[in-house]
Symmetry: C2
Subunit: 524 residues, 2 copies
C-alpha cells in the first residue's frame, strides 16, 4: 500500500475533515492513473476529464446532507411483514418517488394487488418504477433496491431507537441503514453528484424499488414478468445492478456473482382446537409441541449436517479449480467468530470450509415456533396448534421442487414412524440459487470502479443469503446481473443494532458514481 | 331425579325467569329437607330459619347487577405476566378494595416489594387483606382469590374482545370470568345477599386477594409466612377456602382435596450474542435452536411418558382402594375429547387412566421457546439465544428439590452426549403437590352446601393444576383448606374464549352463601 493510500485510510481512522480526504484522493487518483500496472484496466479518458475526482470532491462536501436524508428514510418504519406498518410502507415508497422526481426521473407507482393474511385481503404497497434518460447512444442500467425493512423493537436488544438514525464511532445505527435504504439512497446521491458537478449522466437508468422484499417480494415477480417485460420495460436495458448485500468481511470490498436460494417450510401439528391449561389437560392429550419438537429434531445434526435423505445428491460437485478459489478470498474466521461472540464456529473454523458452507453447500436453520409460548416468564400452556419454521438455503444445482419433494417425503416418513394421532401438515415456499459469470465485462467494469474507490482488487464472492428478485431480473431482462455491495460484513442486517459505516455509505456513493461511469464505457 | 329437580334444570335450559327458578328451588328445598335420606346431613335449623331460601330468592333477583359488576372487573386488563399492565393490576386491586369496604370490611393494601425483570426492579401489585367481623362465637373463614389474569389478545383466536364481558347462549365470555374474577366476586355477592335479606353474616371472614397468581404469586409467601402469620392474622382462622378451580366436567359439581405441584424449567442455549441472518451465517455456526430442540426432544415420548431417569420413583404407589375411587367419578372421556376437538386422547381414552394421569401421576408439557421466531410469516433468523420452557406437574410424594435434581442431572447428561460448543444453562421454579383429607367436617359442610344448590352429592376430586398458595395457606394457618369450584370444566381458563356459565356464576353465589351457613354450624 502506498503512503497516500495509507493516508486516506488514516483520514477515516482519525476523522479528518472531508477536504483533506478529497485532496488526498485526487492526488492518489492522479498517481494511480499514471502508474497503472494492475490487472484492472482504467479508461484512458478519465484523467483528462476529471469527472470522477470532481464528483468525489462534491460527495465529500455533502456528507451531512446524505446523513440527514438517510435519517429521514430510517425514520419511516416501513416494516413489510407486519400489516400495521403497511401505511408506513406506502409512505416510504411515495417519499422515494418524490426523491426520484427531484432528480428528473419519470416515475410511476404500480399496483401489485393484495396479499392474504389470516384469510383477509390486505393491499400490497405499490412498486416504484422510474426512468431517467432515454439516450439511445448510452448504456441503460436497471437498478433494483428495496424500501422495506425487517421488524425492530428497542426491547429486542437495540442500544438506540431502531427507527432513529444515530451516529456513533463513525457508524450510522438504525433499521434499514444498510438493508437497504442506505444503498437505495446511494444511487440517488450518485445521480445528484453528476448534476452537482455539472456533468451529464453517462448512462440511462431504470429503477425498480419495491417495499415487500423482506416478506417474499409478493406481487413483484408477476409485475416484472407479466407486465413490465411484455410492455417493453426491459427492451433497452443493457445491465442490471442490485445493491442489497454486504462485503464478506469488514475491510475488503467484493462483488457478488452468486446467491443461495431458499426453501422455507411451515410444519404444522395440531392436537386440540385451542390452547389448553397444562395442569388441567397435562397427561391426557398427545401434545402437539412434543410431536413438533420430535420432527424438528430429525432435520439436522449438531454440526449442521442436514439429515434429509438424498438432500446433498444434486449439489454441484466441487472441482479442484473451484476449491482453489476459496484460499485466496480475504476472510478472517476468528474476526468473524468474535463479531458474533460465538463460542466456536462450525467446521472447526477452517476458512475454506466456512466459505463453502456459506456459499456452495446447503444449510438448514430452525427459526422458531408459531403458536407456542414465546413471552418471558412461566406460561403454563399446552399449545393447541403449533407451526415450526425451518428453511434450507439452496445451492447450484438444487431445484426447489426436488428439494421440497425430498423434505416432504422425509417428514412424512418420520411422522409415520412417530405414530401420533395428531394432525400434521407441511407446506413450503422456495426460490432457487443464482450465479453469474464473474469474468463478464460488466463485472470487470464494477471491479475497476471498486478499485478506484478502495484501492484494492475486490474479491469476486458469493453469498449465503437469497435475493429471489435477482433471478427474476435475470430472466425478465435477459441481461447480466451484478450485485454491488455498499455495506460491510458486520452491519447486522436483520439483527439488532443494524448499522452502516459512514465510510461505506460515503465511499459507496462514490463507488456507484464510478460504476455508472465505468459501465458507460462498455460497448452497447 | 325428582320431577322438581328436573324442572329446575329445565328452567336453565329454557331460560325461564329467575322468579320461576327461585320458587321451584324453594319448593325443592322444603321437600328435600323434609324427606332427607342421603349421606349428607342437613342442619335442622335451616328450614325454620328460611335464611337460605330467602338468600337464593335475593340472588335470583339481582342477576343483572352481578353480571354488570363482573363486566366491570373483566374490563380491567390485570395481566400480571406483562409489566405494561402493572398499573391495571394495581387498579384492579384498588377496585376490589373499594368493594370490600362497601360491604363493611376493614382492608389494607400490603406492599410486597419488587420483582426483577431483565435486570430491572419492578414494583409488585399490593396484596389486598381484609377482615369482616370479629365475633368470638363465630367460626372464621379465610378466603383466598386472585385478581390477575392470563394474557389475552383477540388475535389469539378469541371470538369477542377478551376484556369485554359478552353474554352468549347463557355463557359470560371474557378473560378472568372464571379464573378468578367471577369466584372472587361470588364471595362479595354472597356477603351482600346476607345483608340484602337482613340477616347477620353467620361467620367472620378474612380475605387474601392477590394480583400475581398467574405469575408465581411473587411476594405472597413471604407476606403470609413472615408477616401476617407472626402478626397473628391466622390466629382466629378456623377454615380456609379457595375458589380458584373448576368442576371436572360440565354438569356435576365437585369439591377438590388435591392439586398437583409444578416444577417449571427454563432451558437456555446461546450460540451468539445476537440473532443472525440465516443466509449469511447458516452453515457456519452451531445453531442454538438445533441444540435446544434436541434437548427438548429428550424429555417425553409421544404417549406422554416422561423420559427423565427415576422421575416416577418417588410417586406415591397406587393402592387398590385408591384405584377403585376413580371408577365412581362422573367423567365422560368422549365429551372431554370433543370439548377440545382432540383427534384422540392419551391412554386410549380410558376414564380411570385419564383421571389418574391428571391427578396422581406427573405430566410433562413443552410450552414454547423464548427468543426464537414466533410471528406469522417466514422470518429467516438464526436466534442467538433461546430459552425452552417446559414443566412437570408434581404429585404426592414428589419433592420439588428431588425432581429438580433429577431433571438437572438428566439434562446435563444429554448435553454432554450432544457435545455442542454452545453455552447451556437450566434453572427451575417449583412448588409441591397438595392433598387434604376429604372426610374432614369442613369438606362435609361444603358437600351439604353443594348438594343443596345442585341437588346431587358432589364428587370429591383432585385437580391436575397447581395453586401453590394452597400449601402456604395450609402451613400459615395450620387449618383445613378446601377448594370450592364455581366454574365448569369447559370454562377454558388460560385459553381463548374463557367463559363462565351464567348458571355456574349465579348458583355459585348461592353455593358460597350456603357454604358460609354450613360452616357456621361446625364446632369452633
Amino acid at each position: 500500500m502506498s503512503v497516500i493510500l495509507k493516508a486516506i485510510r488514516l483520514c477515516y481512522d482519525f476523522r479528518l475533515p472531508a477536504s483533506t480526504r478529497t485532496s488526498l484522493a485526487i492526488n492518489y487518483y492522479n498517481i494511480f492513473h499514471k502508474n497503472i500496472s494492475t490487472a484492472v484496466d482504467l479508461p484512458q479518458t478519465m484523467a483528462s476529464e476529471k469527472i470522477l475526482p470532481n464528483i468525489f470532491q462534491f460527495v465529500d462536501k455533502n456528507i451531512n446532507s446524505y446523513k440527514s436524508l438517510l435519517k429521514e428514510a430510517v425514520a419511516i418504519p416501513s416494516v413489510s411483514c407486519d400489516v400495521k406498518y403497511r401505511d408506513d410502507c406506502v409512505r416510504m415508497v411515495k417519499w422515494m418517488q418524490d426523491k426520484l422526481k427531484e432528480v428528473g426521473a419519470t416515475t410511476e407507482l404500480r399496483d401489485v394487488g393484495f396479499q392474504t393474511i389470516d384469510g383477509k385481503e390486505v393491499k400490497l404497497p405499490p412498486v416504484l418504477i422510474g426512468t431517467l434518460g432515454n439516450d439511445k447512444k448510452k448504456n441503460t442500467i436497471c437498478v433494483y433496491g428495496h424500501l422495506d425493512v425487517q421488524p425492530a423493537l428497542k426491547s429486542d436488544g437495540w442500544l438506540t431507537e431502531p427507527f432513529e438514525l444515530v451516529e456513533r464511532d463513525n457508524k450510522l445505527y438504525g433499521r434499514g441503514s444498510t438493508d437497504d435504504k442506505g444503498p437505495v439512497l446511494g444511487w440517488l446521491h450518485a445521480i445528484n453528484a453528476y448534476k452537482g458537478v455539472g456533468v451529464e449522466l453517462p448512462v440511462n437508468l431504470k429503477f425498480v424499488f419495491e417495499c415487500m422484499e423482506e416478506s417474499g417480494s409478493e406481487g413483484l415477480d408477476a409485475l416484472l414478468i407479466e407486465q413490465l417485460k411484455p410492455a417493453g420495460f426491459f427492451n433497452d436495458v443493457d445491465y442490471v445492478c442490485i445493491s442489497d448485500n454486504y462485503w464478506l468481511g469488514t475491510t475488503k470490498p467484493c462483488i457478488t456473482y452468486g446467491l443461495r436460494g431458499i426453501s422455507y417450510y411451515f410444519l404444522e401439528v395440531e392436537c386440540a382446537k385451542m390452547d389448553l391449561h397444562s395442569g388441567v389437560y397435562g397427561g391426557t392429550v398427545h401434545e402437539a409441541m412434543s410431536d413438533l419438537i420430535y420432527l424438528m429434531g430429525q432435520l439436522v445434526d449438531k454440526d449442521g449436517k442436514i439429515l434429509i435423505t438424498d438432500i446433498y445428491k444434486s449439489v454441484a460437485p466441487l472441482t479442484e479449480s473451484e476449491k482453489s478459489l476459496y484460499t485466496n478470498i480475504d476472510f478472517d474466521p476468528e474476526a468473524y467468530r468474535k463479531s458474533i461472540e460465538a463460542p466456536k464456529l462450525a467446521h472447526n473454523g477452517v476458512k475454506e470450509q466456512l466459505l463453502m458452507h456459506r456459499w456452495r453447500y446447503p444449510s438448514l436453520s430452525l427459526h422458531g415456533i408459531e403458536g407456542a409460548a414465546f413471552q418471558p416468564g412461566a406460561k403454563t400452556v399446552i399449545p393447541g396448534k403449533v407451526i415450526g419454521k425451518f428453511s434450507i438455503r439452496l445451492v447450484p444445482n438444487q431445484e426447489p421442487e426436488e428439494v421440497e419433494k425430498l423434505v416432504f417425503e422425509y417428514i412424512n416418513k418420520k411422522w409415520a414412524e412417530r405414530g401420533s394421532p395428531n394432525k400434521m401438515r407441511i407446506t413450503a415456499q422456495s426460490g432457487r440459487a443464482w450465479t453469474e459469470n464473474p469474468d463478464h465485462p460488466h463485472y470487470q467494469a464494477a471491479a475497476r470502479a471498486t478499485k478506484l474507490i478502495y484501492q484494492t482488487d475486490p474479491d469476486m464472492s458469493r453469498e449465503g443469503g437469497s435475493i429471489p428478485v435477482t433471478i427474476t431480473l435475470q430472466e425478465a431482462s435477459g441481461r447480466n446481473v451484478l450485485l454491488l455491495p455498499m455495506g460491510a460484513g458486520d452491519d447486522m442486517a436483520h439483527s439488532q443494532n443494524e448499522k452502516i459505516n459512514v465510510r461505506n455509505y460515503i465511499e459507496g456513493i462514490k463507488l456507484f458514481a464510478a460504476y455508472l461511469y465505468e459501465v458507460s464505457k462498455l460497448p452497447k
